[in-house]
Amino acid sequence: MSAEGFRTLADQLRGWPDARLSRLLLARPDLATPAPHDSGQLASRAATRSSLLRALDQLTRLELCVLDALVVAGQTTRAELVSIVHADPAATTAALEHLTDLALVWDSPTGPRALSGVAEGLAGGPGAGVSGLRTRSPEPMAPEVVARRLDELSAPARTLLEHVLDHGGEATTGTSRHTVSPAEAATPAEELLARRLLVPRGGGSVVLPGEVGLVLRGGRTTTDRVDDVPTLPTVERSAAMVDKVAAGAAFEAVRRVELLLDHWGTHPPAALRSGGLAVRDLRAASVLLHVDEATTALLIETASAAGLLATGHAAEGEAAWLPTDELDRWSTRSPAERWWVLARAWWDSNRLPGLVGTRDPAGKTWNALAPELSGVHQVETRQLSLRELAALPPGEVLASGTGLPALVARVAWLRPRRPRTRADQVAWALNEAEALGVGGLGGLASYARALVGGDETAAGVSALDALVPAPVDHVLLQADLTAVAPGPLESTLAKRLQLLADVESRGGATVYRFSSSSVRRALDTGWSALEVHDFISSVSRTPVPQPLTYLVDDTARTFGSIRVGHAEAFLRADDEAALSEVLHHPRASSLGLRRIAPTVLVSTTPLDVLLPRLRELGAAPVVEGPDGTVRVARPDQLRARTPRDRRPEGLRAARGSATVSAVVTAVRAGDRAASSRPTGAGQALSPSGSLAALREAVETGASVLIGYVDNHGTRSERVVDPRSVEGGTLTAHDHRADDLRSFAVHRITSVAPVAP
């Protein structure tokens, strides 16, 4: 920055070193895309309204106040600016420097100057750094003059002035005269106008000049200090404790995502037409995972953000939420790496799972995974909140009761121009962080600092691996037929055990319960009792309880004692020899006969084929009904049912005549219409009309003149003898070609009779 200032912002930018310029482009990335041609273009782009607003949104309350003061002061010097901002001078200077860095303020020869669009862009109340003062008059009264004139005021006039100041600095004066001398002033308003403490602006309104406001507020733009950053109340908690709690949540979150997605892989929930997840499915997931619906929604949204869940098509082809193939890759990683994937996805996600279950302004319930369930500011608020947590001194965490409101206030100070839902968003950020194990007990987990620090790699999270349960390779078997795995089981082991026993309780440990049905399930998939015994005793650290051994043997004993198969027909005879004879007949091989008991054969041939074939073989079978009785059959004589009309004679006759008369009426009406229509050859007909005319010609064998549009769009008229009309095509003898031709009916524009 040069001491004498620059002519324009562009000049100033031109004078900046590269490092400072690149800092600007980093802070306001929208200026860099597309790359501006020169500093002039860069400067003009920096002054566009949309870019300005975006930059203003990134300012803290102090910075906004400094900017506001600059606007109020108009033409001013650095020293004067520092004096009218109600804050520590060093802080004001630093803020001004930052504003200059952002190219919102530039140094003119007369002093610092805000970009012209800034005044318009500053909006909101004192919370957003807006003092509500007007810009000073071009030639402002000196503060001493203002102070003297204020002293002269009557009490009502003073009150009126303060009222105007607190309500936007603008008022309408009604009947007050605008040009009076102090001596003539009759009303408080006239008193003010006469002393130029209110200045007429035309249209009957008056404004309070900035310099007056400044004096009223004691020479500053605000009466309150603007550099008081809200402090965060903290309590002491050892970092190890925070890590432990957070790691617990992290492990649970990973476990639950995996459990849910595994479940959805076989029982996918339908995707709503609007794209979300049905409330019922969310509730079912919440029951499955043993967590409330809010946390369930968070886990689902996070899985989706991490690319582990997406819409696809279920077995029957309907749209459904399905785990992606990424899940298979994800599942093979260590718990810490899996957590990292989820946490990273959450960190950058603009989704608002906190809204799930509540209603939108239209009264519609927000569904999880609904496409519109996202907010543009969510990412920023989340990251700001967690950075604040990360900045807490080591060994201290946010106090449980007062911490949240204070954090909301702090975030409000840091980004005053953000929307009113901020309090919710900060609370969500903290809740979500705790539910996902990014933090716990109001503090940030040490292994999550890499995340907050913007680290892209999972290098920092290996610390988490030490905090989550290590996989175990054994279970403890108990006489009440449970097996407890005192930690997460190795995955192959877990899969096998899940086949053999039902899961009863999940968490750090897993409790399995053996029952005859669960053991049977394993036998169904081809295990033998011996394999079951071997497996059980190999995974158990303790002796296998006798009741469990007994259960397996007992289940295996009855397993398969009843055999089921498929047959089309059976053959039964008390005479075993007769069945043997059929079975071994040389021509019986094609019948698919099999002996399943001395007196029973089954066949894969259906009964109606089997019966004549058996007779051919010389057997004399009879058919047995489902109830065991013999069915004898003689060749069927076919008969149709006599059609019967049940309606009474009179009614039938009446209906008949009514139908006829209606038809007649219609026909007559049609005739009248036809006769009143002007006739002429080549007249365009409706499609049904031309069809009718053609059909009529087919019937009568008459020649007709048709108008026809061919492939090239050329219209021609031909005389043809229609032969048939079918499938939208007219087949007719064309007089001109003297041959049979086909015409597309829809191209026939007119049909007219040709006089014979």
Binding site: M241, L477, A479, L481
Partner: protein
């Protein structure tokens, strides 16, 4: 990750590995707030319930202590949602207080106005509350003190009762410790009850609950109503009180089916109080017969439902509940909590163990196979007949005879449900049969003979064993039975079977028919017994000769 003995599951169960070196410490630390659910051989399962947490609150533990205990002993990180839930649940207790207001009488006051607002709008408490005295206080109709507490518990805001008690009619009662002394834990139990006002003392069977009751009476020094389960128990109470306190036989009345005496200390059975004639309880007036200063409930876990309703009207009197377990089959633990009071004392686990609560008996299930003809009958019978057919098979008689012979020198009871089966067994075993129709006198005689060793073998029906305190035995053989309350069954089992004098393990045989509903029932019980820590085995009838005795 620490190497703790406890694994905290997200479904609020706590798994305690009992072979762990710190298991004992952990067990002691979690006992105040977690309910023991299952105790098989390696891993015990505890459960965190709102009631358990509120009991802990009432006993002066706070959420931070609970959370710290969980974190300290947990092997893995504790699920965050569970910690939040613990804190929230515990914070619910004590937001509302029942108090005695100098001018308005009984009032419900709150430290948290929104809670009061929520409660005032709850349907369940409609009609129990009167006018609002100030924003934080509302008048309670005096008659609704108990009902209100019940209702508040149901809507999740249990109230602490600070409204105090009437002193009742004074009556001098002292412990007579000339030839015995109160054990430390008994003294502690009585004192913590007295300081708490009302509540439940949990002590294992045989730990001297009667003496805790007597000690509480000595604290109260007022007329006392004692409610017990049956007449036998009433007599035991009376004997014990005469022996251990300054009370004489004349001061103690018995109010039962047979005798109706109302004395300064009156012992009544639940049965007589809950007897209903023409739609009314004729003996309910006993509760108002005197200005009782103390009411003692024996075996709270068996308290019948009508007693709860009566107790709701007795909230101004001090109440002490005595029990071995807070778990109720009917799930009315909440009513015990709100009407009698929170848990005031819990015996240290080590004591319970030394009382023989764990593994007192070796349970053997003997499976018999129905002969083909009976199997056919079973398969084609109506569902309601099936259990009887399955459990009365003749094969069982043969097996029972085998078993009885194996334990010829030990006192043995054969227990069954069906009279015809019992008669058949009696004949086959040449043993006396006690059933519903057996006279009390005959019953007493046979039991006495059994106790003295004159009779080695009795066949008893379920009916018989419900009504009368069965004598101890070393071997019990159950051939049929409807398994009513599993808790009761285990307790009876523990009481019934004591190890033999020569250190022989007591045996409990159950003979069941394979592949029938009988076996299905047995499976439930097998699970329950195993969960209670009983050793359990299943053998086929053919393998009995291989059993070691």
């Amino acid at each position: 990750m620490t190497d703790g003995p406890l694994i905290v599951q997200s479904d609020k169960t706590l798994l305690l590995e009992i072979d762990h070196e710190r298991a004992q410490d952990c067990r002691k630390a979690i006992a105040p707030f977690a309910e023991l659910e299952r105790s098989p051989e390696h891993i015990h399962t505890y459960r965190l319930t709102p009631l358990g947490l509120w009991n802990a609150r009432a006993a002066g533990h706070d959420a931070e202590q609970v959370v710290d205990t969980l974190l300290e002993f947990s092997r893995y990180a504790v699920p965050h949602s569970l910690l939040v839930d613990v804190a929230e649940t515990m914070a619910r207790y004590g937001r509302l207080r029942l108090e005695k207001h100098p001018t308005h009488g009984l009032t419900l006051a709150t430290t948290d106005r929104p809670v009061l607002e929520e409660v005032l709008r709850a349907k369940k408490v409609q009609g129990m509350l009167g006018e609002r005295v100030d924003p934080d206080t509302v008048v309670v109709h005096a008659s609704e003190r108990g009902n209100l507490k019940q209702a508040l518990l149901k809507i999740g805001w249990p109230a602490e009762d600070y409204a105090g008690y009437v002193d009742g009619e004074a009556h001098p009662i002292d412990l007579d410790e000339s030839d015995w002394t109160l054990r430390d834990y008994q003294r502690e139990a009585a004192e913590s009850f007295w300081h708490g006002g009302s509540g439940v003392v949990v002590l294992p069977c045989g730990a001297g609950k009667t003496l805790v009751g007597a000690s509480a009476m000595a604290h109260a020094k007022a007329t006392t109503l004692i409610l017990v389960t049956n007449t036998v128990s009433a007599r035991q109470w009376k004997d014990e009180l005469v022996r251990r306190t300054s009370l004489t036989e004349d001061e103690i009345g018995e109010y039962s089916g047979a005798v109706k005496e109302v004395r300064p200390v009156t012992i009544a059975t639940y049965q007589v109080l809950t007897m209903k004639r023409k739609g009314v309880y004729p003996h309910l007036e006993l509760l108002d017969a005197r200005d009782w200063g103390l009411i003692v409930y024996d075996e709270v876990h068996l308290l019948p439902a009508p007693i709860f309703r009566m107790t709701a009207d007795l909230q101004a009197r001090r109440r002490i509940g005595l029990t071995a377990t807070l778990v109720r089959e009917d799930g009315r633990e909440g009513d015990v909590f709100s009407l009698i009071g929170p848990k005031r004392y819990d015996a240290p686990w080590k004591d319970i163990e030394s009382q023989g609560w764990i593994a007192p008996a070796d349970c053997v299930e003997v499976r018999v196979t129905l002969p083909d003809d009976e199997r056919l009958v079973y398969a084609t019978s109506e569902p309601e007949e099936r259990y009887r057919i399955a459990s009365c098979t003749h094969r069982k008689t043969e097996v029972v005879r085998d078993l009885v012979e194996r334990h010829a020198d030990q006192p043995t009871l054969v227990i069954g449900q069906y009279i015809e089966q019992l008669d058949e067994l009696g004949a086959a075993l040449e043993a006396p049969v006690i059933k519903g129709e057996t006279s009390v006198k005959e019953r007493q005689r046979l039991f006495e003979a059994f106790r003295s060793g004159e009779e080695r073998l009795l066949v008893v029906s379920k009916v018989a064993n419900f009504s009368i305190d069965l004598p101890d035995a070393e071997v019990a053989i159950q051939v049929s039975g409807s398994f009513g309350s599993r808790q009761e069954e285990a307790q009876r089992l523990g009481r019934l079977l004591r190890p033999g004098h020569d250190g022989k393990v007591a045996r409990f045989y159950t003979v069941v028919s394979r592949d029938t509903v009988d076996a299905e029932f047995a499976q439930n019980r097998q699970r329950f017994l195993a969960e209670q820590g009983y050793a359990y085995r299943i053998v086929d009838a053919e393998d009995i000769p291989d059993l070691t005795t």
